[in-house]
């Protein structure tokens, strides 16, 4: 009895003690609620034929008809394949490069360290529309840097970049890595800087070189962060960066086979059709599959390394 009362008291105490933190979290929670929970009832739209006169809930039910267009054609396979494969490649490439850059920056003692960091981060701040024109500056047929300068210097024929599918998986991976590494590496860098310096010192006393320290200390201690970031990325594996796949290839039809993802497909289709119900259906499908992916990935992680799992 006494124990219970005491714990109750301490709970009360705890709450009072942490009130400032709760207050600080409140705006975020409210935002989350308004933005992510309040629209949930609107999901019924995915199963209806929307009619403004009847309203969202009054519109006629049509079952799964709105989902049909996502799966009915041969494009369904291509867009799903593109979305998942690109995301897998991005997860791997970006993680490896971001960790690499983070370690480089952490080991760096130069005064220019901050400058490098800013330069690496800069692409992340640029809008995809502008990135698409930077890329166009390199790849344009008539005036592009590659065709006019690089290919000419190498003595090769100019390439019609926007008509050749085979180059684009590499171009898109490169552009994506260039753009996001600076941002991703900040998280890894801060983890590395949080590692107790004493461990490195004792390692170096024991005769471990830089390379050994990185391999045996930095990377193992980075692992939970890497796993967390990867889990988050897997949850969004069914979403694609719309700007990257739509703007950067200049919405070029000839490249659809390698640039069409679920997002661009839905956008192109619905821009013409203007159908709200089908957009909702596509959104619901993406979130459901993303939900399943993240649960599965988390389950696997929990099995092998419980302390790194998200939940």
């Amino acid at each position: 009895m006494k124990v219970k009362a005491e714990s109750k008291k301490s709970l009360k105490k705890r709450i009072i003690r942490y009130i400032p933190l709760y207050v600080m979290a409140l705006p975020g929670l409210i935002y989350l609620f308004i933005n992510n929970y309040m629209p949930l009832p609107g999901l019924v739209l995915a199963f209806k034929k929307y009619n403004a006169k009847k309203g969202i809930f009054g519109s006629n039910n049509v079952g799964f008809k709105n989902f049909k267009y996502l799966f009915a054609t041969k494009d369904a396979f291509i867009i799903t394949r593109n979305t998942i494969l690109y995301n897998l490649v991005f997860i791997i490439v970006n993680t490896v490069l971001a960790v690499f850059v983070a370690i480089l920056l952490a080991e760096m003692t130069s005064k220019l360290k901050k400058v490098y960091q800013i330069i690496i981060l800069l692409p992340f701040m640029i809008s995809m529309v502008i990135v698409s024109y930077l890329v166009f500056g390199f790849l344009s047929n008539d005036n592009g840097y590659l065709n006019n300068t690089v290919m000419a210097a190498l003595g090769k024929d100019p390439v019609q970049w926007y008509m050749e599918k085979k180059y684009w998986p590499f171009i898109l991976t490169f552009v994506n890595a260039w753009k996001v590494i600076g941002y991703n590496c900040i998280i890894y860098l801060s983890t590395i800087l949080g590692i107790d310096r004493g461990i490195y010192e004792s390692a170096s006393i024991d005769g471990a070189g830089k390379w050994m320290q990185i391999r045996k200390i930095t990377i193992p201690l980075l692992r939970p962060t890497v796993i967390m970031m990867t889990l988050l990325a897997i949850g969004r594996i069914f979403y694609s960066d719309f700007g990257l796949f739509y703007q950067v290839p200049q919405n070029q039809g000839a490249l659809f086979a390698v640039t069409n993802t679920i997002d661009t497909y839905v956008y192109r289709g619905l821009l013409e059709l203007g159908d709200m119900s089908m957009s909702s259906a596509a959104g619901l499908y993406q979130s459901l599959v993303g939900f399943i992916f993240i649960l599965t990935a988390n389950l696997i992680v929990r099995k092998f390394e419980p302390e790194s799992a998200l939940f």
Binding site: M163, G253, D275
Partner: protein
């Protein structure tokens, strides 16, 4: 921790539900106003026999109400322009309202949105209940608006006949009929050129002179443009290419079918078309036709000859904007009365128009973007009366089309207008430059340089069009074929660019395109269209 979270969530939910209540309460207060308007109209209908017509009575009622509350009710009219809300929009709106308060007993607000945002913004306004009473469907598309239930039946309870009767004087009955969907009239077409003179090749006059082209050998057509053949065009292009080697000859856009042919894109797309729309209702695949092959051959020839930019596929600038930049010399559009002035303005230099095609009126020519009334409008009667004024009242039409007299424009002796002193298209505070989507541009002044009777000329041009589609007025709801449509659209975009701009041999390019279209379900789509067309023709 968990408990606290739960309480907090609860609190937020309670707040949210209060917010919801607030909204509902708003709606409730609006509802009586609505019914009030309804009853007063009915009452007015009863007394109409004595002195006032129902329309006049409605105006008198609104004025009486405004005298009581000190505030006129407002009708919001939305359409797009190229640059967003003009700087002088508030001034024009207040001028407009000052006039309509007198004549109609309402304030009118023109809500002008830039073209890039218009479709999305309008859809949001229409589905969220924000006030917009009248809107142009140019942007979201007429069928999309009808299918989503945004539009009101204009003839419900005799709305149009009672409160918009004068519309019948300016819009012909068969043009109204062309806008009916399933027999119901949801929109009033803007008064414009419905017929087109296909394949008007526009070439910068300075380039023609520089290349030494002799224009005297061409005769002129009814609209006053030089009549010529594609061989003549080839000849001129060759001469221009030789005279201006550092300029690109032809500014491309994907308009060979829309502006360059008499193929009818029934139902609003080219997947299944009428190749001989004046005589036959047989739906066929235009991309397998000889006519389309001819276009592709022509462009292949031009591309080989270096008339087309290597970046044609990626360049998203408008054809006329590229000519304005000075790097391109010629383009193709479709002609109509007073087109030379319009295209010269768009291209920023004098242009010479060559007529290579023939006149044509497609099935969707009239119904492509009518003006509609929001089904959610609080006072459809007031909205209908404003719509009538936009079509028939010169004061309203002038303010909407050109802005304020003496500020934006001045009137010449012959009733044409020109810029007010010190004003031009760049610094004008009101210059939407979208005459063709306005309800009735011909109710307003004519710009200097255009014939004063351009309205009559256009009406005659429409009436005299020899090739009118038999399917005029056919509309089709393709939402049951959304999957096929999306797939077709993708297939077309993937395989069309190379072949229509002549980057690949048409033999292989067209085969690729057609194979992809058939794989995407062109057969089923065309069959559905044919079925709908037959059903429509049967009625």
């Amino acid at each position: 921790m968990k408990k606290l979270l739960a309480t907090m969530l609860c609190a937020v939910m309670v707040v949210a539900s209060f917010a919801g209540c607030g909204k509902a309460a708003d709606n409730n207060t609006q509802a009586p106003a609505n019914t009030e308007a309804g009853t007063s109209v009915e009452a007015s209908a009863d007394v109409s026999g004595d002195a006032l017509t129902p329309a006049q009575q409605a105006i008198a009622d609104r004025k009486a109400k405004a005298a009581e509350t000190g505030k006129y009710e407002k009708v919001v009219v939305s359409f797009f322009d190229w640059t967003g809300a003009p700087a002088g929009i508030e001034r024009v709106n207040s001028k407009l309202s000052a006039y309509t308060e007198e004549t109609l007993g309402v304030d009118v607000e023109l809500l002008i949105i830039d073209v890039a945002a218009y479709t999305e913004d309008l859809k949001l306004m229409l589905s969220s209940g924000e006030q917009v009473d009248l809107f142009s469907t140019c942007g979201p598309g007429y069928m999309t608006c009808v299918n989503n239930g945004y539009t009101a039946d204009l003839e419900e309870n005799g709305l149009l006949a009672t409160y918009g009767a004068k519309l019948n004087d300016v819009v012909r009955a068969d043009y109204f009929d062309a806008c009916r969907v399933g027999g119901v009239l949801y929109g009033v077409p803007p008064i414009k050129d419905y017929a087109i003179q296909t394949a008007a090749v526009c070439i910068g006059t300075e380039y023609l002179e520089g290349a030494g082209v002799d224009l005297a050998k061409f005769s002129k057509d009814d609209l006053g443009y030089y009549k010529c053949t594609w061989d003549d065009v080839d000849e001129m292009f060759a001469a221009m290419h030789a005279a201006f080697p550092d300029k690109t000859v032809y500014s491309t856009q994907d308009n060979m079918l829309t502006q360059g042919s008499c193929v009818d894109n029934i139902g609003g797309d080219y997947y299944g078309t009428l190749l001989d729309p004046a005589n036959s209702l047989e739906v066929s695949n235009v991309y397998e036709s000889d006519m389309f092959k001819e276009w592709c051959d022509r462009f292949y020839r031009w591309n080989q000859a270096g008339y087309i930019s290597g970046d044609a596929l990626t360049d998203t600038n408008g054809a006329s904007a590229r000519i304005k930049s000075g790097a391109f010399m010629a383009m193709m559009a479709c002609g109509k009365p007073a087109y030379e002035n319009q295209i010269s303005g768009e291209c920023g230099r004098p242009m010479t128009v060559f007529d290579v095609g023939e006149p044509f009126m497609s099935s969707s020519a009239v119904s492509s973007f009518p003006w509609c009334l929001n089904q959610n409008s609080e006072d459809p009667i007031a909205a209908m009366q404003v719509l009538e004024a936009l079509y028939t009242d010169p004061v309203v039409a002038n303010l909407a089309c050109w802005g304020e007299e003496g500020v934006e424009y001045v009137v010449n002796d012959d009733t044409t207008i020109n810029w007010a002193p010190g004003v031009d298209s760049n610094n004008s505070e009101y210059y939407p430059n979208v005459l063709w989507l306005m309800p009735n541009q011909y109710a307003a002044h004519v710009w200097e340089g255009d014939p004063v009777d351009v309205g009559e000329q256009t009406a005659k041009f429409n009436d005299n069009c020899p090739v009118k589609s038999k399917a005029l007025g056919f509309t089709w709801d393709n939402s049951d074929y959304a999957a096929e449509f999306t797939a077709l659209q993708n297939a077309y975009k993937e395989f069309s660019g190379k072949v229509i701009y002549g980057f690949v041999d048409p033999e292989t390019g067209l085969k690729e395109l057609n194979d992809a279209l058939y794989a995407a379900g062109l057969k089923e789509y065309m069959a559905a269209k044919q079925e709908a067309l037959n059903a429509w023709a049967g009625k």
